[in-house]
């Protein structure tokens, strides 16, 4: 009975469900976002805080200036490396752990789940204190252990070539639990019957993994991929707390540079940078969506 009243009532139902979210979202999230977009087209500085409308429109000037800013370029390169290496690394590790915990071969599952999730919930400042001790060049845990095998470890955080890779590893360590939790939920949603049927048909575990688990996990993988990418494109806490962007800006990230610019009061310029980040994230997400398109079951 798909008559017009039917369509109307479906529209109402749809909006009915979406409305509370939509209202809150549009007011508190979308609104400020649009406002910042406008900000990025001006030269709003801290001197204009009391009278924000009294600024000059500079159009895309801020955006153009970005690409001439050597720090911006450095930050962009660093962020790219961080994302390109860090996202697959973290996703792979969290998926492996989730598969391991889900395989039914493990006792004390709750302990493992909590343990792997701990780094996600612990404050970054506390984590940084610990990691700095681990990475200390002379008496740190890592170099002491390397010393046992005869390797003379470098000053991990203060050497240009090793600082960023160290942060990537730290990031993977820290965010692994997040992906794990979501993958676990996703794995749970796969009907047991599929596995039972496959086993009856004689499929071995690896084949089951390839032909049941992975395809069924697609929406979850897409979600983790997009969210992890978004998080990593905006990575800020690790460089801020561990290296302050050094040495020689080798760990300066785009989000950190943006934060600094906000600190200087260059609101217009910083908003423009924020929007460049936004565009980058949108492009990457579209890429992920293309790659992991939802198939119909």
């Amino acid at each position: 009975m798909a008559t017009r009243p039917g369509l109307m009532s479906r529209a109402l139902t749809g909006w009915g469900f979406a409305l509370p979210f939509a209202v809150l979202f549009l007011v508190f999230t979308a609104g400020p976002v649009v406002a910042s977009l406008v900000m990025s087209l001006t030269d709003l500085g801290s001197a204009d805080l009391l009278d924000p409308l009294g600024v000059d429109i500079v159009g895309l000037d801020n955006y153009a200036r970005l690409f001439a800013d050597p720090k911006f370029v450095t930050a962009a390169v660093n962020t790219t490396i961080f994302v390109v290496v860090g996202v697959p690394l973290t996703m792979a590790l969290s998926l492996l752990v989730a598969l391991g915990l889900n395989s039914g071969l493990i006792k004390f599952r709750a302990l493992f789940r909590v343990g792997y999730y701990l780094p996600v919930v612990t404050s970054i400042v506390a984590i940084s204190v610990v990691w700095r001790f681990i990475l200390q060049p002379d008496s740190g845990l890592l170099n002491t252990m390397l010393g046992l095998v005869g390797i003379d470890g470098p000053n991990w955080l203060q050497t240009q070539s090793t600082a960023l890779p160290t942060l990537i590893v730290m990031g993977a360590w820290r965010n692994l639990g997040f992906g794990m939790v979501i993958f676990l939920a996703g794995l749970q949603a796969i009907p047991k019957e599929l596995y039972e049927a496959a086993t009856i048909d004689g499929a071995r575990k690896w084949a089951q993994l390839r032909f049941i688990t992975v395809p069924m996990l697609r929406p979850t993988v897409l979600f983790v991929a997009v969210i992890t990418t978004i998080g990593y494109v905006q990575f800020f806490e690790e460089p801020f707390v561990m290296t302050r962007g050094g040495p020689l800006d080798s760990t300066l990230s785009l989000a950190y540079h943006t934060y600094n610019q906000f600190g200087f009061g260059n609101y217009g310029y910083a908003s423009a940078m924020g929007y460049v980040l936004f565009v980058v994230v949108v492009l990457l997400s579209i890429a992920w969506f293309r790659l992991l398109r939802n198939n119909v079951d």
């Binding site: 749809g14 979406a18 395989s103 039914g104 400042v125 676990l184 897409l222 997009v226 936004f278």
Partner: protein, 299 residues
């Protein structure tokens, strides 16, 4: 319909059922078990190690924390740090604020995001794609960019220095809708159609079929939202103008971080205090990552 509402709560499946006994196969399983335990166990040590160090360090003095070479176990254990925090901090107020804000934000998000996620995944309505794109788009804007406009907006709405002002801006997380949509997408349409044919209203379908099926996703969203809200620092700092509206992270930063130096002893003790409720919530909810219901309702 009854089988769809069957809420068996089993524990994790044992993977594919074991095959017929053959010493060969059983010992292969056994080896796999041991290897898996060792590997994951080693990983666990790496994961937990720093946290244990932090917990132990919270019982050390500032001097010992900064000692070179660093120590693992406290040489002169002391409860001073915790004592200082509990006496100097108006702990009950900050704790209550944090709890109220985090709980309301979490429950609100679970409700609104699942409802909107259901609509975006399974219902047809005009403007659906646009809404989803806008929502997705805003996840991608760094939060520092929107801080000042959000504050001006809150000020105009009279929300500054109130718990409502701490809750409302985060009650509808784009991230939450995205998560719920993805999960709900994998619920078979036939299940919902069958219910509709049986005459169930959308509300009933949502409440009695979709939500229970989403338990893992809801548990996940619950933990993530609670965590984000609990640890949120910048907004509660900016939005509160008197101390009685501070949340725990703000109060902790107040005592531990100075203009020119940081008090690591207070910081670490405070970090332990702050992380405990999140762990409790995680422990409570993580059972639900476990299979809640199979989509066996179809059969």
């Amino acid at each position: 319909m009854t089988s769809a509402l069957d809420t068996r709560t089993e524990t994790l499946p044992e993977g594919p059922p074991r095959r017929r006994a053959g010493d060969d196969l059983r010992s292969r399983d056994h080896v796999a078990r041991v290897v898996l335990h060792v590997v994951l166990g080693a990983g666990l040590v790496v994961m937990i190690g720093p946290f244990i160090w932090m917990a132990l360090a919270s019982f050390k003095t500032e001097g010992e924390i900064r000692a070179d070479p660093p120590t693992f176990f406290p040489q002169n254990g002391t409860l001073d740090n915790y004592h200082t925090l509990f006496t100097r901090l108006d702990f009950p107020t900050y704790f209550t604020n944090s709890v109220v804000v985090a709980v309301v934000t979490t429950v609100g998000n679970l409700l609104f995001c699942s409802a909107a996620g259901y609509a975006l995944a399974k219902l047809a309505f005009p403007g659906k794609r646009v809404l989803f794109l806008i929502v997705l788009g805003t996840i991608m804007v760094p939060s520092v960019v929107t801080m000042v406009p959000l504050f001006v907006l809150s000020s105009n709405l009279g929300l500054v220095n109130s718990l409502a002002g701490l809750i409302l801006p985060f009650l509808a997380q784009a991230f939450g809708v995205f998560l719920m949509r993805q999960f709900i997408l994998s619920i078979p349409d036939d299940l919902l159609e069958a219910a509709r044919i049986d005459g169930a209203s959308e509300l009933r379908i949502y409440w009695q079929i979709v939500l229970p099926l989403c338990r893992p996703a809801l548990a996940t969203l619950g933990i993530l939202t609670f965590l984000a809200s609990w640890n949120n620092f910048l907004w509660p700092l900016v939005a509160a103008t008197t101390e009685d509206k501070y949340t725990l992270p703000v109060a902790l930063a107040l005592y531990a971080i100075g203009q020119n130096q940081t008090r690591y002893d207070l910081l670490l003790a405070g970090s332990v205090i702050i992380v405990l409720p999140v762990l409790v919530v995680f422990l409570l909810l993580q059972r639900h990552f476990v299979r809640g219901i199979a989509t066996t309702g179809l059969k």
